[in-house]
């Protein structure tokens, strides 16, 4: 984790630490607290920044960030949409799954600056606590989670999976590549394999998705 926000975070901690030690030390606290803080990493030049505008959950947003910032860090740390989770940060778990331009992606393996003009939907944009998205309601009904950490990614992924089946996109387990995609349990499980659940709520997740898809699991 090396987004600018983490840097901000450590700088804040640093500041707090400095302020605390200063308060009990001999140096005049006020003067110290107001001293501009030099970047913690001794960078010879300024860190390259970039501006990006996209639409998140129906709202236009514009952020200026370190070019290194992933979409996941931009959502969580800059826009404070902390529903999308960071599990592995390497595309291996699916906890960071969001829907960009109608397609599910791992937000940890894409740069925020690569999403200029994109429409991004996160778990926060699917439903509200008062008015859950049918997939959210089905996860609640079927206990599609235990700790809940993987759940926002599972739900975003599941919503997109049903669209992919509707669009006729085949999967590894489709028996016939040229026939319409089926809504079987095996299909759902294969298509959801990019979302790992450490609590092992898989069978309940499959039931929740099946219900929304209108098929028994």
């Amino acid at each position: 984790m090396q987004g600018p926000s983490d840097f901000d975070l450590s700088r804040r901690k640093l500041l707090l630490g400095t302020a605390a030690s200063v308060a009990f030390g001999a140096a005049p606290p006020v003067a110290n607290a107001q001293t501009p803080v030099a970047p913690a990493q001794a960078a010879p030049q300024a860190v390259p920044m970039s501006k990006v505008s996209f639409n998140v959950n129906g709202r236009p947003r514009e952020v200026t960030l370190d070019t290194r910032t992933t979409l996941l860090d931009a959502l969580r740390e800059h826009l404070h949409l902390t529903g999308s989770k960071k599990g592995c940060d390497h595309g291996q778990c699916g906890a960071c799954t969001v829907i960009s331009g109608g397609r599910r992606i791992n937000s940890c393996l894409t740069l925020a600056v690569m999403h200029e003009g994109d429409e991004i939907r996160t778990i926060e944009g699917l439903g509200t606590p008062e008015n859950l998205h049918p997939m959210q309601a089905a996860f609640v009904k079927h206990d599609g989670y235990q700790c809940g950490y993987c759940t926002p990614g599972q739900i975003c992924s599941a919503v997109a999976v049903l669209d992919e089946i509707k669009a006729g996109i085949p999967s590894h387990v489709s028996a016939d590549l040229n026939a319409p995609a089926q809504l079987t349990n095996a299909e759902l499980r294969e298509r959801m394999s990019g979302n790992i659940c450490r609590c092992g709520a898989y069978s309940n997740i499959a039931e929740a998705i099946s219900e929304v898809a209108g098929r028994p699991a």
Partner: protein, 316 residues
Amino acid sequence: MRSFTYERARTPADAAAAALRNPDTKFIAGGTNLLDLMKLEIETPAHLIDVNGLALDKIEPTSEGGLRIGALVRNTDLAADSRVRRDYGVLSRALLAGASGQLRNKATTAGNLLQRTRCPYFYDTNQPCNKRRPGSGCAAIGGFSRQHAVLGASEACIATHPSDMAVGMRALDATVETVRPDGATRTIPIAEFYRLPGDTPHIETTLQPGELITAVTLPKPVGGRQVYRKVRDRASYAFALVSVAAIVQRDGTGRVALGGVAHKPWRVEAAEAAMPRGAKAVAAQLLADAKPTRENTFKLSLAERTLGAVLTEAKG
């Protein structure tokens, strides 16, 4: 991750020229391999050229009756294309056997070809690795080498190429189209695209500095039963231990390429003459020069048996 400057490419030729101007430049497409490696500081570009805006995202028929696949066509779209499903099933199947739905939505045709090895020592920056740091040695030789190459490896590197798609492309005799920094274009047959590690395992393809892939073309469909079978440690979302891409005609002749066994998709055209005689005969030639390590000898029997299963499936 090291910091980098970022630009969006305007034309393919511009992108190639800009990449040559700064040797520390990388193109970024889906980002699913490059960013993974940048986070670990295995790749440390100082400048990124985002190629996503280049209009290279179409699949078009060629005048020879084949298909021209833009470098930026996403793996999902390539696998789902009705022409690919109908005429190049082995490619659809190979793509669908790789990664996850989320990753395939981002991963591009060119990025998939150029993804780097999954050798765990390549990923561990505390270990010597000639591919990551030329001249530092190879921790996999004498190390944990269950996943590594059994064919075409060298004293310097025994890594495998992890792509499933590339194995399908090799069976189909695809061609890579590029543009070079001077604006010249060329085509590279997939058979000549990947290099064996030799003593320069960090040079993985015959692409030149700054050269940009613009498309991959498939020749006219060859028909036949097309099968891709991948054997891995779990049923989904894992890299291949061994994979087989096969195109089998009604008379039993055909083509076969292996994944998971070498630094590139492994195909020996001469071995294919043995296809009507069955897997054992083909494997004898295909794997003739194999030099497995103590830990991956199993890949030889696994490859032969997987090929057997594939040939049986293709007959059915």
